[in-house]
Symmetry: C2
Subunit: 347 residues, 2 copies
């Protein structure tokens, strides 16, 4: 009872109350208010003693002598690890989200962007979506389409519902039949292979083909690189940055700018998310637990999802440390659930 690590039930209740009250109102909370709103079965003096003990344990802190208590990062940590009660996702919620996302069969990028926007809107915070890595997909379809005398369109579809289409320049010597022939030929050679394997295969194929098709194959190689580079570098989608930037308890203009810049540096965020995606469970990064310095006073919830076999992406929610964890986690669980079902439909 007197130790610094063991938490009596009453202390747990008080800690929980402080955290939830602070999440709700964003105001430091004192012993009297706690007494009034929660039936803790003791007087305010006792609560004060307990609050002092919780502060001693570094779960709570004092903005100044005469303000109430607010949770520390460690306080939030105890809260999410031990005190948070998650109610299951309701059918209505899931149904509603499902309807929004499944409006029409789209490609991965659109689905993710849509999901991201949804999470940002509902949570009123910032949402991140990380697409699975490009090398975890195989080529499902490849087709050249004549568009004009000078241009053709190449369309690649992968197992991850990624559609990549790009205009190619075609010299006058290349006929429509050539394009048709190349479509079939490349299909035979490349389908079922990863983009990386395709890239390795291309030089071999180039050898076997007539000279007039070489330029086309070179351009295809660029497109395949794009599947890596572009999709790779643009794997991260961020929505609702303004929600966070305009949040009322975040009025430090310098920090705002820094955060805005950090959210723009997609590479960095992407890299961090990737490295933490080894676990297949929800991950919570509170304050300084975030690698990115600009997020040191924010919380990131990151929920992985399986886009297809062995291909994992993640959906994230970035908000203030005093975000509504229960709601956030439920929202992510709900959306990733819908996402997994939408993506698992054989493409």
């Amino acid at each position: 009872m007197t130790g610094t690590s063991y938490l009596s039930d009453r202390r747990k209740a008080i800690l929980k109350a402080v955290v939830e009250e602070y999440i709700l109102n964003g105001q430091p909370i004192g012993s009297e208010e706690l007494l009034r709103k929660y039936s803790l079965g003791c007087s305010s003096a006792t609560i004060r003693a307990e609050l002092a003990a919780l502060e001693e344990m570094e779960y709570l802190s004092h903005p100044h002598t005469s303000a109430g208590r607010i949770p520390t990062e460690q306080g939030y940590r105890i809260y999410v690890d031990h005190l948070l009660v998650l109610s299951p996702v309701s059918f209505q919620e899931e149904e509603k989200i499902s309807q929004v996302l499944n409006r029409q069969a789209q490609d991965l990028r659109n689905i993710l962007a849509e999901a991201c926007r949804l999470v940002a809107t509902i949570s009123t915070y910032t949402s991140l979506a990380l697409a699975p890595q490009a090398n975890q997909q195989v080529m499902r379809h490849i087709h050249f389409v004549p568009v004009s005398a000078k241009q053709a369109l190449v369309i690649l579809v992968t197992s991850l519902k990624v559609i990549q289409d790009q205009f190619l320049e075609v010299s006058a010597e290349v006929s429509e039949e050539d394009l048709e022939y190349l479509s079939h030929y490349l299909s035979r050679r490349l389908l079922g292979k990863t983009p990386w394997q395709c890239l390795q295969e291309l030089p071999v194929i180039r050898e076997e083909q007539p000279a007039r098709l070489v330029s086309l194959l070179n351009q295809l190689s660029t497109v395949l690189h794009n599947v890596f580079l572009y999709e790779q570098s643009e794997r991260l989608i961020v929505e609702g940055a303004e929600n966070l930037l305009l949040a009322s308890d975040f009025r430090n203009s310098f920090k705002q700018r820094r955060l805005a810049d950090a959210l723009d540096r997609r590479f960095l965020l992407q890299d961090v998310l990737d490295r933490h995606l080894t676990s297949r469970n929800l991950q919570i990064f509170i304050g300084q637990e975030n690698e990115v310095v600009e997020m040191h006073d924010l919380t990131l919830l990151a929920m992985p999802f399986e886009a297809s076999r062995y291909a994992y992406g993640a959906l994230g929610l970035l908000g203030p440390m005093r975000m509504d964890y229960a709601k956030g986690i439920r929202l992510l669980a709900c959306v990733t659930g819908v996402l997994e079902r939408a993506l698992s439909q054989e493409a």
Copy 2:
């Protein structure tokens, strides 16, 4: 010289100096400072008299008795209409922008998004890009592609470099040959037609086709609607909203929120831009000249561009009234120039 509308050369010089100084520093400017920084050939007392006259004419205003002058909206108006000197766009600039935008032949949406991002980044304000209306394009290509046993991909390409691809569900009865056949058949019937004409044609075509293809044609109709609805509703791209929201001279949190919301209501903005796009020249909306209330203390520069014959889009720059007009206008001119060249390449 004493009238309220005629501007002597000295008054012009003073007004210009006040506007440019205010654009530069964002601080009200007084007679002494004006004297120090600009060689106006008279004393500060004379300048004060002129400032008073310009205030009388409502080109300048006084935040309070003892502050310097700042331009009124009408002051800015005079400035952009008569006092602003535009230097031509340099080759380096144009070349640099051209390189960024022409990295690879992309579809309209990507090019516009890229251009928009570029303008936002360079200007450090907010950039808008409005794609041409969907009915100003004709179908250039239509193709069904079998992707799996249950799914096909339909690809539409229009004269505006718009690529629309979407997964369709295919019943077991439909063979790959059917898809091939349908691609050719629909090409014959629909190419060269506007999306709207295509939509009208579809019911007719449906009558002529075997029953097992009806579902496919219905889904195609949905896709075509999307060319209208989606492309129509998402014609506006906004980039760099955070630049404006975090701008230091814009610290009213209520207004920030309102502006953020307004920028999210794409329909509204789109509509306004469309209505003003009758002119083919740069348009400048200063403060209350903006229809959208939330922009009443901002300036919008809107530069139309011709995406293809008779199909006009616009590129916009939204910033504070004290934005650098010369730079902004040059930037828009430069980017729309590059854009027109990129899009005019026959798709």
